[in-house]
């Protein structure tokens, strides 16, 4: 530590000037209190308080005017040792990937739609396999999905469902395409949350989410399908969808997010050249 002079105290040789002790503040405070205490006791108490207050003021002023009273306190030579029980400095370690929680790169949302289309095609095969294995007909799952479009079906038999119906095929195809694209879109929207693991998201997380949604709502949307669906096979189809969708997404490549861009650019403020300047510096 270095030495320098500050404030009202000062150092001269081996002594330090400090304000001298004084009784006048206590006299003044006591006087002020007695003035107010007289309100609830006696006027004489207030008079005594006023006398003390004036005495305190006079005594105080005489101590500070024209020169402030002070005392010289001798400095005692005492060696101060500054030491720590800690042998080394511990700092918070910040890894290079510290800001990876905010992804600097992610998959485009369009990749989710492409993945959805690919996954939709892929899941046809386990669905048909299910029809063949359980009902010896590839049309069984098609008719279950498209059953809502077959007007005369009220309580169809298993044989009717296992046979070919054009209208059911058309309805099932439309539902399947729309469903696959929408799920793919949802997948693409969720990717920024799991940018490193698109196949995990597509193969496990999204199928489970989608199966949960379908399980809870299918009874309203398509009661016939709900009564006959095999959920284990449904999950297998969804996983097939997800794995293929994930693989397609991985092949699409990543795009940069706005995290590494200057604030003004992310806000849309016109600042041409700023981004490339920053890139150049790196």
């Amino acid at each position: 530590m270095e030495t320098h002079e500050t404030n009202h105290s000062s150092q001269h040789g081996g002594a330090i000037h400090l304000p001298a002790p004084t009784a006048w503040p206590i006299v003044l405070a006591f006087g002020a209190t007695l003035i107010l205490a007289g309100v609830v006791t006696s006027g004489y108490v207030s008079i005594l308080g006023a006398v003390l207050l004036i005495s305190g003021c006079v005594g105080w002023f005489r101590q500070v005017l024209p020169h402030e009273a002070h005392e010289d306190v001798p400095v005692e030579a005492e060696e101060i040792t500054i030491a720590s029980t800690r042998t080394h400095v511990t700092r918070i370690e910040i890894s290079d990937e510290h800001r990876a929680h905010l992804p600097v790169e992610t998959y485009p949302i369009l990749s989710g739609i492409k993945g959805g289309i690919a996954g939709g095609i892929a899941m046809i095969f386990p669905a048909m396999l299910y029809g063949l294995v359980t009902q010896h007909s590839i049309w069984y799952p098609v008719n279950l999905l498209g059953g809502a479009g077959v007007a005369h079906w009220t309580n169809p038999t298993t044989a009717e469902i296992a046979s070919f119906h054009l209208s059911a095929l058309i309805i099932a195809t439309i539902i399947h395409i729309l469903g696959s694209v929408l799920v793919g879109l949802l997948y693409g929207a969720m990717l920024p949350m799991f940018p490193r693991h698109p196949i995990v998201l597509g193969g496990i997380v999204a199928p489970l989410l989608w199966t949960g949604v379908m399980h809870s709502s299918l009874g309203v949307i398509n009661p016939a399908l709900d009564a006959r669906i095999s959920w284990p096979w449904f999950v297998v189809s969804q996983v097939a969808f997800g794995l293929v969708a994930g693989l397609v997404v991985v092949r699409q490549g990543k795009i940069k997010t706005g995290q590494s861009m200057p604030f003004v650019l992310r806000m849309g403020v016109e600042a041409s050249g700023m981004y490339s300047d920053k890139e150049d510096r790196h």
């Binding site: 270095e2 030495t3 004084t22 006591f30 101590q63 400095v89």
Partner: protein, 563 residues
């Protein structure tokens, strides 16, 4: 991670202190005439602890009276007097004085100054506070004397007018309340001015505002808030005295006055007052938690900014104490929202403390135990505060024991815990002796258990409709068992405080020698001998970072590299 055997550097067994009787008068004179900030700080803290014991004894009297239905331990009037004096004592004589105790003792040492900016004003401020307290308790002697509790104030600590007008409160009880608090209020104003001036004008070389220890920052903010809010209270008290003695009609509704004026004046002081009291508690936690977590305080600028934000926002929330007076919906909505807004900066603080502890090598010595419990309890107090800040819930719970439980969660669970933590932390610096860790742990665990038994349970009779301030209650209300539990918790707390008082006294004479820096801390006060010499620093220090002692201890990796 609790480490009860934490080795304290430099702490050794020491012979008992012995005083010769011949020196007692000289010793007394040195304290009465002192203008030294350290002695005045000690006087403030001793004064605060004394009134903590007095206010605590009053709390125990209240709890004995309420321990079961239809008790006659206290008469209704004495109960009202004790109830009023408990609140007044704890807020004005304990709460408002501990602040200036810590501020006086620590701020000059922390900023490398030799004294406060106005040493004589400092002495005047303390003695005004002292005599204000004496005047308040002198009221027990007049009137019916001690047995009937004399003229002690019986108007509750909020002293709502016009119930405090002569027509409803003959005698001198409201006068003692107003007069004594005017005197202590003057002391508060003087002390606040001194703290602010010292923090801004007396800093040593290199101590920029953004290097001020957080305690100094927060104490300064609290002092500014006290300065702003004590003024309307004083004005209201003068107006009340004018009504009572000079025929004024400020609060006399029969003569065109308004009862609402008092409510507004009082609560525009009363709510920020909570922050005046709790901000210095934060200040203590800001020093203790980093040192015992062995990490720098997380988010220094955020802590400073949130403290200032709390002070500002708290000035705009007073009417949440008045939801039941019949404000407009827009008025209610404004004060609901402004009250909720305080939650943001306070939440920032909680995250700062948690982030400071996160990953730290925590030493659960007694100061840290108290501050850790503080963080948890303050969070819980904030949650019940949210309930009370919602106007419709407030209408249901207003004036119930739920409200009492809530604000005691802050006043005891946050403030008292931090004060205890602060005393355990700085006692070695002030006296040169360590407080007993063993007694400290007893104090902590009994107090934390008693606290939760008392104030957790107290919420329930409030929800069941038990009003505050009642002298007794009937057995058929279903509150008896709950009140019994609450009272037992209060007694456990009282035992803990007595252990603490014993620890303070016995350790002063027989405690281990502390050394200069027993906690391996970072702020400047620990670079002085324990206790520090009257001039604080033989040479004025120069600092280069927020943790000057860290820099001296670790010259190879000083803090200013990272600021």
């Amino acid at each position: 991670m609790a480490d009860s055997t934490y080795p304290i550097p430099g702490a050794v067994e020491a012979p008992s202190r012995r005083w010769s009787q011949a020196a007692v008068l000289e010793w007394l004179n040195s304290w009465v005439t002192t203008v030294d900030h350290k002695k005045l700080g000690i006087l403030y803290i001793v004064y605060a602890i004394f009134f903590l014991l007095v206010g605590g004894a009053e709390a125990i009297a209240i709890r004995i009276q309420l321990i079961q239905p239809n008790m006659h331990f206290l008469s209704p009037q004495v109960f009202n007097r004790i109830f009023t004096m408990h609140g007044t004592t704890m807020v004005f004589l304990f709460g408002m004085t501990y602040i200036f105790g810590f501020a006086n003792y620590l701020i000059p040492l922390m900023i490398g100054a030799r004294d406060m900016a106005f040493p004589r004003l400092n002495a005047l401020s303390f003695w005004l506070t002292f005599f204000g307290g004496i005047l308040l308790y002198y009221s027990f002697i007049g009137g019916g004397g001690l047995y009937g509790a004399g003229n002690a104030p019986d108007v509750m600590w909020w002293a709502y007018a016009p119930l405090t007008e002569r027509a409803f409160s003959p005698g001198h009880a409201p006068d003692y309340w107003a007069l004594s608090l005017i005197v202590t209020g003057f002391g508060t104003i003087g002390a606040s001015i001194n703290v602010i001036s010292t923090a801004f004008c007396m800093r040593c070389k290199g101590m920029t505002l953004m290097r001020l220890p957080l305690l100094v920052w927060v104490m300064t903010v609290a002092s500014g808030l006290a300065l702003i809010t004590i003024t309307p209270l004083t004005a209201a008290q003068v107006m009340l005295l004018i009504d009572r003695y000079l025929g004024g009609h400020f609060f006399d509704t029969q003569a065109g006055g308004s009862a609402m004026i008092w409510a507004h004046f009082f609560w525009i002081f009363g709510h920020p007052e909570v922050y005046v009291l709790v901000l210095p508690a934060f200040a203590i936690a800001n020093e203790v938690i980093p040192v015992f977590s062995r990490k720098a305080m997380f988010g220094y600028p955020a802590v400073v900014a949130s403290s200032v934000a709390i002070a500002f926002v708290s000035l705009g929330v007073w009417a949440h104490h008045m939801f039941t007076i019949g404000m407009t919906s827009v008025g209610n909505a404004f004060f609901v929202l402004s009250t909720e807004l305080v939650g943001i900066p306070t939440a920032i603080k909680i995250f700062n403390w948690l982030a400071t502890m996160w990953g730290g090598k925590i030493r659960f010595a007694t100061p840290m135990l108290f501050c850790t419990a503080f963080v948890i309890q303050f969070l819980l107090a904030g949650l019940t505060g949210i309930i009370l800040s919602i106007a419709p819930w407030n209408w249901q719970l207003h004036n119930s024991y739920f409200v009492i439980a809530h604000f005691h969660y802050i006043l005891v669970g946050a403030i008292a815990f931090c004060i205890f933590g602060g005393i355990y932390y700085w006692y070695p610096k002030v006296t040169g002796r360590m407080l007993s860790e063993k007694l400290g742990k007893w104090h902590f665990w009994l107090f934390v258990i008693g606290f939760h038994i008392t104030f957790d349970v107290m919420h329930i009779p409030g929800i069941l409709g038990m009003p505050r301030s009642i002298y007794t209650y009937e057995a058929d209300r279903g509150w008896g068992t709950l009140n019994m539990i609450v009272s037992i918790g209060g007694i456990i707390q009282a035992i803990a405080v007595l252990i603490f008082a014993w620890n303070l006294i016995s350790s002063y004479f027989k405690g281990k020698i502390a050394g200069n820096d027993p906690w391996d801390a970072w702020t400047l006060e620990w670079s002085t001998p324990s206790p520090p010499p009257v001039y604080n620093f033989a040479t004025d220090p120069v600092v280069t970072s927020r943790r000057p002692l860290w820099d001296l201890k670790h010259p190879d990796d000083p803090d200013w590299h990272y600021e």
